[in-house]
């Protein structure tokens, strides 16, 4: 694919502003990723994967690549935390690990949480075995950009047969109150056999200036292990974000995911799951409740490579005002993945004439003995249901909120932690003006 002049220029401009510490053990990985980025370049209009998300044009207009990030002046992270949630907290402020704000004292035995840089010396073999494996740098320009430029990384490792009681919360804070912020952060999470982890990743930002944030994460779930994974995108700032999550499941592993997108100027989520084991179970849920001019793009891939596994994907959206959502869901069932059960559904409600959704479910099946379904719906609120509620004395606004809430809350189904569920429920209720 040929880049346009602008795209090439921008790609060059980004690259020319780089400086690598050549001595770092990972500089070889950075250079490899950079080469890949150089080849693909930023996506232009002809790039099918970014067809409805004009991110290159937006970055060109909004981001100055010559500016240094400013230091954040935030004095407390309390507003960004999840109330009452007992969690180990890893805080990244403007792309840098904050020891001050992180809460990693008295971490229970069996889990290691450290910066990726540190892990690269203490756990070199493990890191080099997994890093940049699930993330395909040749495929997505932002994945390669992130792998080339990451400023900070997080490494989480759970030992065999250890069930971690507390959740782990990765908090990304981008503070653009003094100047524009560009941050690239990364995580590598390895859950060994029979281990269990609940991971929450929350993106929060403040300030008036623009923010460009890429976050890439690789999660390896070994045999019989369990991962509960929640991503919360609730940004007040002018955030342009590309978040990439790549997960690999081994035999008999279980995965529950939920992605909630509420704010941001432009949010692109690439969420790829490779079900590379038998008898795996994946519940893959998402909810986007958008307003203003927010654009949120969820690109998901569920790739069944082995037989006898089950995946169920449900993404729902409510678009208000001028917001725009994109959903692209791919399911692959490879030739060896017989007896696969794979389901996908994307349902949308548009509240205004100016809100839009582009949805594209894609199913590619090479195996012949499988059960698969996919579908998408787009509509308005059910007028008949609205009248039914109103005829019982419920005001139009409340009836509308009740129906939207009922529509949205179904996606919370995979959440097991009650504190987290209540927190998410409140975010949804607040957004939908549910006050009854």
């Amino acid at each position: 694919m040929e880049s346009t002049i602008t795209t090439q220029d921008l790609t060059k401009e980004i690259i020319s502003n780089l400086s690598f510490e050549d001595t770092a053990p990972y500089s070889a990985y950075r250079k490899k990723a950079l080469d890949a980025f150089h080849k693909t370049g930023l996506p232009d209009k002809k790039n099918e994967e970014y067809r409805f998300t004009p991110i290159t044009a937006v970055l060109e207009k909004k981001i100055n690549w010559n500016l240094e990030n400013s230091e954040s002046k935030i004095s407390s992270i309390t507003p960004f935390l999840i109330n009452e949630l007992d969690a180990y907290v890893i805080v990244l402020v403007n792309g840098k690990f904050s020891k001050e704000f992180s809460k990693l004292n008295q971490v229970e035995p069996g889990i290691k949480i450290k910066t990726l840089g540190e892990a690269w010396s203490t756990e070199k073999n493990l890191v080099e075995k997994h890093i940049d494996q699930l993330i395909n740098c040749n495929n997505d320009p932002f994945a390669s950009l992130n792998s080339a430029l990451w400023q900070e990384g997080i490494f989480i490792h759970v030992d065999e047969a250890i069930k971690i009681k507390k959740s782990v919360l990765i908090l990304h804070i981008n503070d653009a109150s003094a100047s524009q912020i560009i941050s690239h952060t990364k995580a590598l999470v390895i859950i060994e056999r029979e281990a269990e982890l609940s991971l929450i990743e929350k993106s929060s930002s403040t300030g008036e200036e623009n923010i460009f944030h890429t976050f890439s994460e690789e999660l390896v779930i070994q045999e019989n292990a369990l991962l509960n994974y929640v991503k919360i995108q609730h940004d007040e700032g002018n955030l342009y974000q590309v978040a990439t999550s790549a997960i690999r499941q081994s035999d008999n592993s279980k995965l529950n995911t939920f992605t909630l997108t509420l704010n941001g100027k432009l949010i692109r989520n690439n969420f790829n799951i490779v079900i590379d084991g038998e008898n795996c179970e994946s519940h893959f849920y998402g909810l986007y409740l958008l307003n203003g001019n927010t654009l949120a793009d969820n690109h998901t891939v569920v790739d069944h490579t082995r037989p006898n596994s089950y995946s169920n994907e449900l993404y729902k959206g409510v678009m208000d005002e001028n917001s725009k959502a994109i959903f692209n869901g791919k399911i692959y069932v490879r030739p060896h993945a017989q007896k696969t059960n794979a389901f996908q559904s994307n349902r949308n409600i548009l509240l205004t004439d100016t809100a839009t959704i582009n949805t594209k479910p894609q199913l590619e099946i090479w195996a012949d003995d499988v059960k698969c379904s996919h579908g998408c719906t787009t509509g308005q609120l059910d007028e008949e249901a609205l009248f039914y509620l109103r005829s019982r004395g419920i005001s139009q606004a409340t009836a509308k909120a009740m129906l939207l809430y009922a529509f949205a809350a179904e996606t919370l189904e995979p959440i097991r932690d009650e504190v987290l569920k209540t927190y998410l429920d409140n975010l949804i209720s607040e957004r939908l003006h549910k006050n009854f």
Partner: protein, 251 residues
């Protein structure tokens, strides 16, 4: 209680009600009968405030107020209740939460104190007995997966909870077997007082064996063409609607 004068209504460009006159007083039960397409359900819908119908002429006075000026939710507050012919299934909204929200909104409207969880559950248990509805049904999503009979019982349960002054039962007998019909009718009868009124919209006489009307009106082509006592319903059952149609044509 309710005075309808020369009511005319249309949906899209199609006129459906062509001048209805009706007087309903407190304590009375009125049956509205008529062949399919005569405008029975439209009349019920216009009374409840369904927005697809446009009232083109006439007036509806209810307890001295212009009913047509009220939103559907205000009508519920004013004491109007429509039992739907086809109650809507609403996944994700639990019947109990819905009922609590509705009841407290209506009580707020009427200037009555709202009920806390304990008082609400107590009232609910009491009203559940009235329509022989099971608790397990109420913890489910509103009408979702309910049988025809369960949906109609749920309508009467809601009516019992909201204590309307004027209840309109739209084809409540449709889709009911004889046992369900009796349970639903018993519920309605227990709710009758000299202070409230009921309009029963029905195609068949069967329901009127259980809910005995004081007046029967026959609707045809958007007009009430004949009114009488409960014996009129029997006559219709025996002769069908054709003699009414003929009578109208001759006149």
């Amino acid at each position: 209680m309710l005075t309808i004068k020369n009511l005319q209504a249309k949906i899209g460009e199609k006129p459906i009600l062509n001048g209805i006159d009706l007087q309903v007083n407190a304590g009375e039960v009125h049956a509205i009968m008529g062949p399919n397409g005569s405008g029975k359900s439209t009349l019920a819908s216009v009374l409840a405030g369904r927005e697809e119908y446009e009232v083109t002429d006439g007036e509806i006075m209810y307890l001295g107020k212009n009913l047509l000026a009220f939103e559907p939710e205000e009508r519920a507050g004013e004491g109007i209740f429509l039992a739907f012919q086809y109650p809507v299934e609403i996944p994700g909204v639990s019947t109990v939460n819905f009922m609590k929200t509705a009841l407290n909104k209506v009580r707020e409207y009427r200037g009555e104190p709202t009920l806390d969880a304990v008082a609400f559950l107590q009232l609910m248990k009491e009203k559940m007995k009235l329509v022989e509805i099971d608790q397990s049904l109420l913890s489910r999503s509103l009408n979702e997966g309910f049988s025809g009979g369960e949906k109609k019982r749920n309508e009467i349960f809601q009516m019992a909870m909201l204590q309307p002054k004027l209840a309109i039962l739209d084809e409540t007998d449709s889709g009911l077997d004889i046992d369900a019909l009796r349970i639903v009718a018993n519920g309605v009868n227990k709710l009758r007082t000299k202070y409230n009124a009921t309009i029963v919209v029905t195609h068949y006489q069967r329901l009127l064996d259980y809910i005995v009307p004081d007046f029967v009106h026959v609707l045809y082509k958007g007009r009430i063409v004949k009114s009488g006592g409960k014996e009129l319903a029997k006559e219709l059952e025996a002769k069908g609607y054709d003699w009414i149609k003929n009578e109208v044509t001759v006149a």
